[in-house]
């Protein structure tokens, strides 16, 4: 007989142990799925680790794929922390790519690189923040469910992205040569506009990756040391209590959603500035990897802590990297999503261990007299 009772205090070590355990459980469950479907899990896992973390080339790819995930993870962490479910990271990423690249195309290649990068970031973040404000305004003033509205806007943003590349009237579309007139693609950034990289010891660290760490640090300060962060926590716990104590919950919803959108938008801007240098609607492009949804997994596994997002983002970046480059009999497609899903399930199950205490057998009966208990099995 297992009894479940509420913990009065949540031990700190559990908030580290549960995410780590979740990843472990995910690997175990996935191994079971692989065996059932006739694959060799050890071989698959070996290939996964080699592709993701063995050698400089592997690390470079992992960092490349972790970059957007860090941003979307931070974006989800900001919003989810206040129980504001911004599922629109995916769409906000597209918009950040559109507006961020747009300003670079408009500026042209003959400006200082610093100016170009700053303007790209500002416009990318601002465009995505405005996009995220749509569900925020509807939530704050119309009490409309932000989950569905932000998600629906993902599809709209995806179509907008396609439109920007395929429509001949779009200023994003390259119509300079015969080839691009018949095979639509966007204008490309000029080399003078590419975002810089740092190469310590042969590992390429793109500017966007460092920017994400900067954003994480700023968010950490915001959550820990400011009144804004404190009020976010209170509103997250109880919106009613926050309102009674005079906090402006509507404003907070708008502000937090805008921040979340801006950070997600930077993921898209950095995709263009750091890596693809064009707006990409192809099968390998922005829409292929579901970075926005992956961000939710990252944020939940990091328990909405921006510093932890950086660690978890690296791990899931490795998984994404392996998923993208390995595919075949011993690395089935869809494995990445399945793994991410199981990790999230395990994290959720682990939350039970943080909030509740499990008691086994005889001790449960005596404990039940002193503390309220509910039966699970």
């Amino acid at each position: 007989m297992i009894k479940v009772e509420r913990r009065l205090e949540q031990p700190r070590w559990l908030s580290f142990a549960v995410p780590v355990g979740s990843v472990g459980v995910a690997f175990l469950v996935m191994a079971l799925v692989l065996v059932i479907t006739g694959h060799d899990p050890l071989h698959t896992y070996k290939r996964l680790f080699v592709a993701a973390f063995d050698g400089k080339a592997a690390w470079n790819d992992t960092i490349t794929l972790a970059t957007p995930i860090l941003f979307t993870g931070l974006a989800a962490a900001v919003a989810f922390r206040m129980n504001l479910f911004n599922i629109g990271g995916e769409g906000q990423l597209y918009i950040g790519a559109i507006t961020g690249s747009g300003v670079a195309f408009w500026l042209g290649p003959h400006h200082a690189k610093v100016l170009t990068i700053v303007l790209m970031c500002v416009c990318g973040a601002a465009g995505a923040a405005l996009w995220a404000l749509v569900p925020a305004v509807l939530k704050a003033f119309g009490r409309t469910n932000e989950i569905i509205t932000s998600l629906m806007l993902n599809y709209v943003a995806g179509l907008l992205l396609t439109y920007m590349i395929f429509d001949s009237a779009s200023p994003w579309r390259d119509v300079s040569t015969v080839q691009t007139r018949s095979f639509p693609q966007s204008i490309a950034l000029q080399p003078s506009q590419f975002w810089p990289t740092v190469r310590p010891g042969g590992i390429v660290i793109p500017f966007g990756f460092m920017l994400a760490f900067g954003v994480a640090a700023v968010l950490w300060v915001l959550f820990r040391l400011t009144r804004f962060g404190y009020e976010m926590n209170v509103i997250g716990d109880s919106q009613r209590a926050a309102r009674y104590s005079g906090m402006r919950t509507r404003r907070k919803i708008l502000a937090v959603m805008a921040i979340s959108g801006a950070v997600a938008g930077l993921a898209g801007t950095s995709q263009v500035g750091d890596f693809s240098h064009v707006l990409d609607a192809s099968a390998q492009g922005l829409q292929a990897a579901n970075y926005g949804y992956t961000g939710i997994v990252v944020a939940a596994l990091a328990r909405y802590n921006p510093i932890a997002v950086c660690l978890v983002g690296g791990l899931l970046g490795g998984l994404q990297n392996a998923g993208l480059f390995l595919q075949g009999a011993d690395f089935p497609s869809g494995l990445v999503g399945v793994m991410q899903g199981i990790i999230l399930f395990a994290t959720l199950g682990g939350e039970l261990l943080i909030r509740y205490r499990l008691r086994l057998g005889q001790r449960a009966a005596s404990a039940a007299e002193t503390a309220p208990a509910a039966e699970v099995a």
Binding site: G142, G334, G337, L348
Partner: protein, 322 residues
């Protein structure tokens, strides 16, 4: 007459509305018992995948094969929803995050892609598919013929389910218990109704219906299987929104589903067939934009009075904390 744009749009609205209707009815059952399941999109995708697989593998005459395929799809959806039920009912996890996890797990880059590729379903021509039935030989009747009397068996099954769900929730003892569990689980518990039991049963039923809805795509509307999430393309999310628009009532789900069916499938294809030149991206964005618009209208106006929303929706029931 029957070739006119309006009739064609309406006939297509019924076709494209049917998967949304199945999924919405399923979500309705789960939500009426107090459990929000945001995993509908994922369950539909797995249902579509496994339904198509069942159809390719099952032996026998077409009608039997299709029945087996539909049952496979429903079972697949049910299994997916069982994960959600376990997490939120037994482990009291956040219903929102668990539902999202289910969509990521089962979705277009997850299990449905894994299964579809592993079972070799890509680019396989369908052996069987649902064809339109000429009911009572009325298919050529003006207006009503193409819309009501020349549809697939899935459409007629969905009507039966609407009646079933409406009667079950509104007119039976069990349905009353479900509503009690969704409105006030504490009161239901003290009356001896098993809150966990009802919630499990209805989340599972909801999963089965979502799987069935997914099968409408792979067996009837666009027979075949494609990798990724384009097969269902957001219909699961629209179904969740639809439950809100319909004020948690089965008969209103029917109306809403056809409205969105018309926008997502009927209107674009009919307009193209009649030679109207509208940007395809704009047409494809319509159902998503309309979902937002209707949701805003409903949540700012009528639902201020919260018509129909189960009071305990989204809240885990813990006996000692009520």
């Amino acid at each position: 007459m029957n070739d006119s744009l309006v009739v064609q749009v309406l006939a297509q609205a019924v076709v494209y509305g049917t998967p949304i209707l199945f999924a919405a009815l399923g979500e309705l059952l789960a939500e009426r018992s107090g459990v929000l399941n945001l995993g509908v999109e994922g369950m539909m995708l797995v249902g579509a995948t496994m339904g198509f697989w069942g159809m390719q593998r099952a032996p026998g005459p077409t009608s039997l094969v299709l029945l087996l395929a539909v049952l496979t799809a429903a079972f697949a959806g049910l299994v997916m929803s069982a994960i959600h039920a376990f997490l939120v009912v037994t482990l009291r996890a956040s219903q929102i995050v668990s539902g999202l996890a289910l969509t990521i797990f089962a979705g277009g880059l997850g299990l449905s892609s894994y299964l579809g590729n592993d079972l070799g379903l890509a680019d396989v021509p369908p052996k069987h598919q649902f064809s339109d039935i000429d009911v009572f030989g009325l298919k050529d009747v003006a207006v009503a013929g193409p819309i009501l009397f020349h549809q697939s068996a899935l459409v007629y099954a969905s009507w039966a389910f609407v009646v079933l769900v409406a009667v079950y929730l509104g007119r039976t003892r069990l349905g009353l218990n479900v509503r009690a569990v969704g409105e006030s689980p504490g009161a239901a518990d003290s009356m001896g109704i098993s809150v966990a039991g009802y919630r499990y049963a209805h989340v599972l039923a909801g999963g089965a219906l979502a799987g069935l809805g997914g099968a409408c795509y792979s067996l009837a509307i666009t027979p075949g299987w494609t990798d990724g999430d384009s097969l269902v393309g957001g219909a699961g999310w629209i179904a969740i929104a639809l439950v809100i628009f319909s004020f948690w009532r089965a008969e209103l789900c029917l109306v809403g589903a056809y409205l969105f069916g018309g926008l997502s499938g009927g209107l674009p294809s009919a307009l193209q067939a009649h030679g109207y030149k509208i940007k395809p991206e704009f047409l494809n964005a319509l159902p998503y934009l309309m979902t937002i618009v209707v949701l805003v209208l409903v949540s700012t106006g009528l639902a201020r009075r919260r018509i129909g929303a189960p009071a305990a929706l989204g809240i885990a029931y813990v006996r000692e904390e009520r």
